[in-house]
């Protein structure tokens, strides 16, 4: 199996979808000649032309609104929102339009729209350019929400998202673009709503998303040296969510840590904790621990930014607390 970067894996899924279906096209800011702010769409203009790789004005509301219209007319638009912080500008279109039309039309309309976006700390771009806002969208019935953490997952999940007949908000993490991983020669679609167990363990389950999957795996290595066996589960799709796999894992390990880069308060970890306490109440041997960012706007100063967001050490501390002896 060839090793490719997360960035190449995203591009591969886009190229294949563009080749396979004339109804698929891309819209976004600077995605054509420039190849996107993260260089994900580099080379696509040359292969597919300006009609299908479309630069847009700087108006997220207009981009998403246009794409919704195209989707309802039978196309499969893929929108790139440069930074996920800017998703806030398209909230009306996403929350009140894209998410609602299928239901409100009694199924007569569908919105096969994929919104790709990226964010996350690591480059210190400041408070307005590095947030993790995935939890906002998990709260909206009618949307699907994906957060992929590996090259193999990002390709298989993006393919499925593009071919889903519902609007999917697809989160990528900017620090993951250069991460390499093996992906099969043939693109294998990954169903939405299926968690991945990255590492099996018996003492505590860490449910992690995005960058924190990698931090959790690192924490698990460290914990193993202390004789603590950590299971790392990545839900991959936040909505729909593989509750069964999550509950089964915690029933096995009897302890649970949730981990994401977004702020802890009302983050996706809160939803996970609620599901786990209900589904595995009689199996829990310790309070569920949540790992996330401190409740603060992200600072510009790199050292401060790193202090605000969680790392492997924070996951490890949480793991240790769950197995703690007084």
């Amino acid at each position: 199996m060839p090793e490719v970067t997360y960035r190449e894996a995203v591009r591969d899924a886009l190229s294949r979808a563009l080749r396979e279906d004339d109804g698929v096209f891309l819209m976004g800011e600077d995605i054509a000649e420039m190849g996107g702010s993260m260089a994900v769409t580099q080379g696509l203009l040359e292969e597919f032309g300006a009609k299908r790789i479309r630069n847009t004005p700087i108006s997220e509301m207009a981009i998403v609104g246009t794409a919704i219209g195209a989707a309802m007319q039978g196309m499969r638009p893929i929108v790139e929102i440069m930074y996920e912080d800017f998703l806030t500008l398209s909230m009306e279109q996403l929350v009140n339009q894209a998410a609602k039309h299928r239901t409100m039309s009694g199924g007569q309309l569908k919105v096969p729209l994929t919104i790709r976006t990226q964010g996350g700390a690591g480059w210190s771009p400041g408070a307005q350019h590095a947030q993790q806002l995935e939890a906002w969208f998990v709260h909206v019935p009618g949307l699907k929400v994906v957060f992929a953490s590996t090259p193999e997952d990002v390709r298989g999940l993006l393919w499925t998202a593009i071919h889903d007949d519902n609007p999917v908000v697809f989160f990528e993490h900017r620090t993951l673009y250069p991460v390499k991983g093996e992906v099969p020669d043939e693109l294998e679609p990954i169903p939405l709503g299926k968690a991945r167990i990255h590492r099996e363990g018996t003492d505590v389950t860490v449910i992690a998303t995005g960058r924190l999957v990698h931090e959790a795996l690192q924490a698990a290595e460290e914990a193993e040296k202390d004789g603590i066996s950590v299971e790392v589960v990545d839900p991959r799709t936040l909505l729909p969510l593989d509750e069964e796999a999550i509950v089964a894992s915690v029933r096995k390990t009897t302890r649970c840590v949730t981990a994401h880069e977004a702020v802890t308060r009302a983050g996706f970890g809160a939803e996970l904790a609620a599901i786990v306490q209900h589904g595995a109440f009689d199996w829990l041997d310790a309070p569920i621990e949540r790992v996330g960012a401190r409740f603060a706007p992200l600072p510009f100063a790199p050292v401060m930014e790193q202090w605000v967001v969680p790392h492997a050490a924070d996951v490890l501390d949480a793991v240790r607390r769950t197995v703690a002896r007084a």
């Binding site: 109440f281 009689d282 041997d285 703690a324 007084a326």
Partner: protein, 428 residues
């Protein structure tokens, strides 16, 4: 349930009790179970120490330490409700029977201040750093949900277990350790396991009937009054065995291993849904036809026969039935069945195949109107296609209550069941 027998109290007068802690053992006509306290406080008074009591009788009083309860509970059975309303904020008469225990909820502040609050900080910190001793009287026991469940299942008192978790929390490991070191406590949950002195040689041994045995005697005598008839079929069990073997092969990790009886339970449920007359109760001269097949499975236990119920067997996969059955049978053998496990059965399967019994007649399990007696699967000669073949063969006998079911109805049910056993796919 109308009455039960208090076997013994697990707490003494003056003991602190926490909500959810086992208070006394109650023997009912179906099961022996521990009744839990429904409030925190002190067991101020035991009104009825043992013996049979009617549901609704005040059997004890939980309240705050030092409260005067001399007036409570003496007019036993007269007006327990009144006793409860006379003392809304303080005493809580504990009434017999699960689900009817009443208690006044009181905030913990009402009691003496918790120990830790009065300690100087340094001492409190030390206390947190060492395994904390078992909770003092009146203190709430800190325990993880898992620890609570294990303690409940093994009949252990959490208050007596030292916690090694953060802030002295009792965690699963502590309970496991306590369980190992306390075989006596485990035996408490299963009174039948108490060793009995062997009868001296030459003397007749007289055995008192346990409550379960007494119930079996009474109910089966009742059943004997029903005019019954039996119908018998012999079936080709090759497909039944093959289906079960295939399911075992496909079993995933962590799943219960399906038995032939699990498959048969599913097939019987399917047949029952097609013949609702057989899936019924006969009560007070009326026939109650049930919307779901709740199939009872006869289980031999050290205490006698019990029939836990696989609810909604018509809507469950064999895999689910296997999981439910595994749980029910293991709890039946440990004497840990709850009333809910035994109620609402609409039909019973009794299988003595494992003892090599080829065929037998089962006695009705009232108010159910039919019961199936299943024999062993054995290689037997059978006529098929004009010749003699040898293959897995099984005989089933249906006992029917003729007040509710006619011969033709029973026969049609049994004909379909035979069809399903021989071609399980037809039960779809």
């Amino acid at each position: 349930m109308e009455a039960g027998t208090i076997v013994r109290w697990l707490k003494s007068e003056g003991d602190a009790v926490a909500k959810g802690e086992p208070l006394y053992e109650l023997d009912t006509d179906k099961v022996t179970q521990e009744v839990e306290a429904e409030a925190d406080g002190v067991l101020l008074k035991i009104v009825i120490s043992d013996g049979e009591v009617d549901v609704g009788t005040t059997v004890g009083v939980i309240g705050a330490e030092g409260e005067d309860v001399s007036g409570l509970g003496d007019g036993n059975g007269a007006s327990p409700q009144a006793a409860a309303s006379d003392a809304p904020a303080a005493e809580a008469p504990t009434q017999a029977a699960p689900g009817t225990t009443r208690a006044a909820e009181r905030p913990p502040e009402a009691g003496p201040a918790p120990e830790a609050a009065r300690k100087p900080p340094a001492e409190a910190a030390r206390a947190a750093a060492a395994p904390s001793p078992p909770a003092a009287a009146g203190e709430r026991v800190k325990a993880s949900p898992l620890a609570r469940r294990i303690a409940r299942e093994r009949g252990l008192d959490l208050a007596s277990i030292a916690g090694t978790g953060p802030e002295g929390r009792v965690i699963a490991e502590d309970v496991e350790r306590a369980a190992e070191g306390a075989p006596a406590a485990a035996a408490v949950a299963a009174p039948a396991a108490r060793p009995q002195a062997p009868a001296p040689p030459g003397e007749v041994e007289i055995v008192e009937l346990t409550s379960v045995r007494r119930t079996i005697a009474r109910r089966l005598t009742e059943a004997w009054e029903a005019p019954v008839f039996q119908l018998t079929v012999t079936v080709d069990a090759s497909e039944l065995s093959a289906t079960r073997e295939r399911m075992v092969e496909l079993m995933r990790e962590g799943e219960a291993k399906p038995t032939v009886n699990d498959v048969l339970t599913r097939l019987t449920a399917a047949a029952l849904m097609r013949h609702r007359a057989v899936n019924a109760h006969f009560v007070d001269g009326k026939i109650h036809r049930w919307p779901a097949a709740n199939v009872g499975i006869a289980v031999a236990t050290p205490n006698g026969l019990v029939v836990p119920v696989v609810r909604d067997a018509d809507r469950r996969s064999v895999q689910e039935i296997a999981a439910v059955r595994t749980d029910l049978v293991s709890r039946a053998r440990e004497g840990k069945l709850q009333l809910a496990d035994l109620e609402d059965g609409t039909f019973t399967i009794s299988n003595l195949g494992m003892y090599g019994i080829e065929q037998f007649i089962a006695v009705l399990n009232p108010p159910q109107v039919a019961i199936l007696a299943v024999g062993s699967i054995e290689e037997r000669p059978r006529v098929a296609g004009g010749g003699l073949v040898v293959g897995p063969t099984m005989t089933m006998t249906l006992t029917c209550d003729h007040r509710a079911i006619d011969g033709s109805e029973g026969a049609e049910f049994l004909r379909d069941l035979k069809l399903f056993v021989e071609s399980p796919a037809l039960a779809l």
